[in-house]
Symmetry: C2
Subunit: 281 residues, 2 copies
């Protein structure tokens, strides 16, 4: 059965001329579905809208997007208690060459996948990480966005496919830690939480935004500060965020080790009470 | 009639799960065909092989590539006196997520297009250019390569689609001129030719390599040197290279103007005698 939904039809193939394939000219969102509802939907829409603006593409209507999510879930017969829906918005089939024909309408695709929550012991004991050799290029015109240009993440991810590590942390050329290949990273020093700014490279995750906003409502400030690799050994605690798993403590990065500390435990308790129940340990 | 050749078959569509579409996980080459033969074939193969190595993909065999080019030309019934063939090598349909399943074999696609040479007066009088606002991110893991991650070029190209400019020059964050959206750039100062190094960003064009090597054989050195935007007004001459048009003089960039100078004319004459006859003015 065709697995992707496009304009209400189930399909499996797209035009080779689609600019998403030719140039990575497009965006995507990977949305956690919990108890039948897309989680952090508004934040996914916000990021997609910002991406469409930067890329000069037409933003699909909210109703078209939510209809597509519902159709994808129905089409896949995925149990909606715990699933994931991917939305791809590409610039569509256009003329040859980098220049777009602006009459082209975007290609909008939806697919639902079943997904299982990470093992509870990962929330309890933390995960292993590594530092990736692949560096993120800085000064990217699409910094923060989730575009279809994801080669850096593919290359970084390939570095630890043979290892037991759950995630790899990526650096920029100046040895600043930016984010994980599929997550954002937070550091705790002297009870203060910080996360790297993502205006030069990296992806601004919706869960990162949710963590910052929910903690802010509790009077806990997350500082946006560059974090050099050389400081990592001095971190008291490290944790990651991602739209699917919520928040996970980091117990190890290469030779460095951390306990699942008080601050991380508190963050997880707060997030568990705010739409991210998987963080309840 | 389906326009792309894949494993000997003419097709128009590919799997939505292809990693080329999902992540821009792949490479391409755009090869000039002149008098029935792919020009600078060896250089295209070199760059593709280097790209496959960096991306960790299997390089298609030379015979598979040359068969594909021939089939694409035959399939399109394009006159082969002056045509272009595009080859796309993507990482194929793999598992979901950034991690590749290394058992997947690459998707290899070929398509021929008819192409007309640029108007002779462009070679004689030069072309207009602009400086693009879109900056190239620096420190890219795929610098120099022609990957399917081309959003920077798409965005830069869109800036001058309404103008008469033939090409736009792109800078890095430090105001160094790196290359055009679809070409490489050379500067002439006091009879000396230079072109920017491309180890941090930009695409190493096959025609750039050909120009450097042919001029080298004539005892003319091309210096690999960063070139700041602030020096552009002091350039005596500026010219561009590209696999399709060969070498074109730049007569203007925003408010700056240049004559088609002696050095550029000499370069064009030399290149015209070395597989790039369109440079004969």
């Amino acid at each position: 059965m065709p697995e992707w939904i496009n304009q209400g039809e189930a399909i499996d193939r797209i035009s080779i001329s689609d600019r998403g394939f030719q140039y990575g000219d497009g965006l995507f969102e990977t949305i956690a579905v919990r108890d039948g509802k897309p989680r952090l939907w508004r934040y996914h829409l916000d990021r997609l809208a910002r991406g469409c603006e930067v890329l000069g593409m037409e933003m699909p209507s909210e109703s078209a997007l939510s209809d597509g999510v519902i159709q994808a879930l129905r089409n896949s017969e995925t149990p909606t208690a715990h699933a994931v829906v991917k939305i791809i918005v590409s610039a569509g089939s256009g003329r040859r060459g980098y220049e777009r024909a602006f009459a082209d309408s975007p290609t909008v695709l939806f697919r639902a996948f079943s997904s299982a929550p990470p093992a509870p012991e990962l929330y309890g004991n933390g995960i292993d990480t590594v530092i990736c050799r692949t560096r993120l290029a800085t000064g990217s015109a699409t910094a923060g966005l989730k575009t279809l240009n994801r080669l850096e993440q593919v290359l970084a991810r390939s570095e630890f496919s043979e290892s037991d590590a759950f995630e790899g942390l990526t650096l920029d050329a100046e040895d600043s830690i930016i984010c994980g290949t599929m997550s954002n990273v937070f550091f705790v020093n002297d009870k203060c939480i910080s996360t790297p700014p993502l205006d030069r490279c990296g992806v601004e995750g919706v869960m990162r935004r949710h963590v910052i906003e929910i903690l802010g409502q509790q009077g806990i400030t997350v500082a946006l500060q560059p974090y050099s690799l050389s400081r990592l050994a001095d971190a008291d605690e490290v944790f990651l965020s991602n739209s699917q798993f919520g928040v996970l403590p980091v117990k190890r990065c290469s030779a460095m080790k951390w306990p699942v500390g008080e601050v991380t435990q508190n963050v997880m308790t707060i997030m568990a009470n705010n739409q991210v129940p998987e963080c309840r340990r």
